[in-house]
Amino acid sequence: MASHTDAFFQELGSRGHEPALRSRTATIRFEIADGADVECHSVAIDKGDIAVTSPGDPAGADCTVRTGHQLFERIASGDANAMAAMLRGELIADGDPELLITARKLLATSAASSVPSPASSVKSAPTKGGQS
């Protein structure tokens, strides 16, 4: 069975555009350690357009998020909270810490899709592009 981590980055790579991040341009790098092995992914966000490269390049990352594999599994599945993990030193955000919120949005949107919703999605209201 594919891990939550794999599923998350695969889903992220195929997401294309994330409206919740449409005003954000930044690169967030994830370094996920499993013993001596470190799995790396760079997530480039360009006004909401998302591109994932693995392992990607550590140079040019605005924020690097470092965790252990087990913790990231739990974060990706929605069982653990990234902010709490950061506060207890189990997750490290190097660079612009504001981007941890952005990372949280990426993760939360992914996790939310597996949770039943009592009503229609947040985007049920009609949208017409926003710029008048």
Binding site: N81, P97, E98, A108, S120, A125, P126, T127
Partner: protein
């Protein structure tokens, strides 16, 4: 107690500057919801010092003048000690020992230091720690440390003068020349550390922060409109509000470098959805940048998923963010916690009101998705009973909040006979906020999001909500709105100040407004100082009950805004007069709440025993009263000024009000004599204002 603060770092000490915290009182050095110092005691030759005076120089700086002594008789008045303390990320303290004698003085100066690293929640609830402590006497510094798994916090104390350092403090053996002085600078740093020893979040030492803070405060005061008032106490109240608002500014660690208002000292020095929004609304005509940051930060942290522990839903605006150990280990849900039912509609209200004042349409476009998600939350996630009303019931039964409205104490929502309703509860003001959010959301959709269909749909929903609300919540025999609907959809019939918020939101049918106003200004709710949270005559009424009889200045400021909205200018001015009168008794700083006793009974407002002070939305109350007294209302690119002042106020000039018009002045005049006596307007119970001229700026 003496408090100094900067954002979410604050020091509470006694009046000689010492800290001797017990496990349950909020004294000490706190930062990010953690106590970094619980002991900080200065002695000279083994003796404690006695205070001569304490100067609050700035909100972040205090000076203590001390002399050695036994507590009753001064044994050596030839020596004095000055402690100058400024807070930043930790604090900085300069200790100066002055020898007034003709002989040199050989002295032992000692600072005792210790930390319990308590989470503020642990202080509040008297809980035990789970990690381990260490104290390290290193070369030139004392390190107090707490670890629990990968959680690591340190207090690092260093001195510019050589000291003998042991595990519980610093000792200076000094000689002070005749008429000479000795000085050392102590730096106390509150460190949140990662396992690799690096700082968890970037920060600057206090010594570097202080000059910035002085400049920043000066700029802050200079940017705000200037107030010229014939009623003398107003200048002090106004300045106090601006300075306290500056003090309560909080830059969330993980959300840009801009500041938003934290809720209040000492328990609530953090980001609260409701408090930050309401304070931003109050201060919009004065410091619009707070509203901008509030929108941005709350928008960034908006809920995106269902999480029962945090009571999070997609679109929901956070209730409270905490950074302490219990949040870190998920023993409390505040990372952040989302359990509130009002901040989400109020987020849309603030976004609209912000644009109306500032003309910053870019922000409205940037946060379109967040505003839509908030509007969607009202119908998709908050209608727990399926009856078309916003209601609340916590999903986190253990550590979530029971009452998710602003009156969040256990007994605040009650029937007249004192019974408490079950859950879910749909309190009335939530419906008002939802209505207002839909009306304002419609304007934003039409004007900025290029979506007239959505605007039409929102207006239709709002009209339907108003119609149902005026039927379902109205008590026709008693002529007021029920405080809530209970789990069965039946009316919870206490008479409360909540009905005033309904006027602010505009959900009240015009035909019912007068009856509502009569109740607000009638003897059961009106104390002479302000509108009580719960009416005299309700079974649970208690003049010093937190939400069941006290008077809350912020509550009154929104009620006054509501009265203006429905054309009751005189009544709005009367409320302003009552609360501003009370402010004089609190030296210009309104507390969170004060007693609901009848004014004629006590002659002065009785402070609620454990009220927070300063508290953001109390600090914002005089600002909102200025707006309502002057009748400031942005219409298109103009600012309407329609003043109506209380008797005795004389004139008010508010100069350089910032907004989409640039800067503009507003004037109001009360033709009567100015009354500067401490008991301002004797006529509060009778009549309190006169009509004034109207002008369009």
């Amino acid at each position: 107690m003496i408090s100094i603060l900067d954002g979410n770092t604050f020091v509470v000490s006694d009046d000689r500057g010492d800290i001797e915290a017990s496990s349950t009182d909020p004294t000490g050095l706190f930062s990010y919801d953690t106590r970094f110092l619980s002991t900080w005691v200065l002695t000279v030759d083994g003796n404690r010092l006695n205070p001569l005076s304490t100067d609050d120089l700035q909100y972040f700086e205090t000076r203590f003048f001390l002399v050695p002594g036994t507590g009753t008789v001064y044994v050596d008045a030839k020596l004095s000690v000055i402690r100058l303390r400024s807070v930043g990320h930790g604090f900085h303290e300069r200790i100066t020992v002055l020898n007034h004698d003709d002989q040199p003085a050989s002295l032992t100066v000692r600072i005792e230091a210790a930390s319990d690293f308590a989470d503020l929640f642990e202080v509040k609830d008297a809980l035990k720690k789970k990690g381990s402590y260490r104290s390290l006497a290193e070369s030139g510094r004392l390190v107090l440390e707490y670890r629990r798994e990968s959680y690591h916090r340190q207090t690092v104390i260093s001195s510019t003068e050589p000291a003998e350092i042991d595990e519980s403090g610093l000792t200076f053996t000094i000689k002070v020349e005749p008429h000479g002085e000795w000085t050392t600078e102590l730096q106390v740093s509150a460190m949140m550390l990662r396992p690799d020893g690096e700082a968890l979040l970037p920060s600057k030492p206090t010594s570097e922060r202080r000059p910035e803070m002085l400049d920043d405060l000066e700029n802050w005061l200079n940017r705000a409109p200037r107030l010229d008032s014939a009623w003398e106490p107003f200048a002090e109240i106004y300045k106090r509000s601006l300075v306290d608002l500056a003090a309560l500014r909080f830059t969330p660690a993980i959300a840009g470098s801009q500041a938003l208002p934290a809720a209040g000292l000492p328990w609530f020095m953090t980001m609260f959805g409701r408090d930050s929004i309401l304070t931003s609304l109050q201060s919009l005509p004065f410091t619009p940048e707070l509203a901008r940051t509030t929108i941005r930060v709350l928008g960034e942290w908006q809920g995106t998923r269902l999480d029962d522990f945090r009571d999070e839903d997609p679109g929901r605006i956070l209730h409270e963010m905490r950074y302490g150990e219990m949040s870190a280990f998920e023993e409390r849900p505040h990372s952040p916690y989302y359990g509130n039912a009002d901040a989400t509609p109020l987020f849309v209200v603030l976004l609209d009101e912000y644009e109306r004042w500032t003309g910053d349409d870019e922000l409205v476009r940037e946060y379109e998705q967040e505003a839509r998600a908030a509007l969607n939350w009202i119908d998709a996630y908050a209608d727990l009973q399926g009856n078309g009303y916003v209601s609340y019931q916590r999903r986190n039964e253990e550590t979530g909040l029971e009452n998710q409205c602003w009156k969040d104490s256990w007994d605040s929502i009650a029937y007249v006979d004192g019974r408490l309703p079950g859950f879910p509860r749909a309190t009335c003001e939530l419906q008002g906020y939802a209505y207002d959010a839909k009306i304002r959301g419609a304007r934003l959709a039409r004007q900025f999001w290029n979506d007239p269909d959505y605007a039409d749909a929102l207006l239709k929903q709002a009209a339907d909500l108003k119609k149902r609300f005026n039927k379902d919540f109205w008590l026709p025999d008693r002529k007021y709105f029920a405080i809530a609907l209970d789990a069965d959809g039946a009316q919870v019939d206490a008479l409360s100040s909540n009905i005033g918020h309904l006027l602010w939101s505009g959900i009240v049918d015009k035909s019912k407004a007068k009856a509502v106003v009569d109740h607000l200004m009638g003897p059961r709710l009106w104390s002479g100082w302000g509108v009580r949270t719960m009416a005299e005559g309700d079974q649970r009424y208690n003049p010093i009950g937190y939400h069941v009889g006290t008077v809350w200045p912020f509550d009154n400021s929104f009620i006054a805004w509501g009265l203006r909205r429905y054309g009751y200018k005189r009544e709005a001015a009367r409320i302003a007069a009552g609360i501003l009168d009370a402010a004089v008794y609190f030296d210009g700083r309104l507390p969170e709440a004060f007693g609901g006793y009848e004014r004629s009974l006590t002659r002065y407002p009785v402070q609620y025993p454990t009220a927070c002070s300063p508290q953001a939305w109390s600090t914002g109350a005089p600002l909102l009263f200025l707006r309502t007294m002057l009748g400031l209302e942005p219409i298109g690119d103009h600012l309407i000024v329609d003043p109506c002042l209380p008797d005795g106020m004389g004139h008010i000039a508010l100069l350089d009000i910032p907004g989409r018009w640039g800067r503009i002045d507003a004037y109001g005049r009360d033709p009567g004599d100015v009354v500067n006596a401490p008991v301002l307007r004797q006529q509060l119970g009778d009549q309190s204002m006169k009509p004034a001229r109207k002008r369009v700026a």
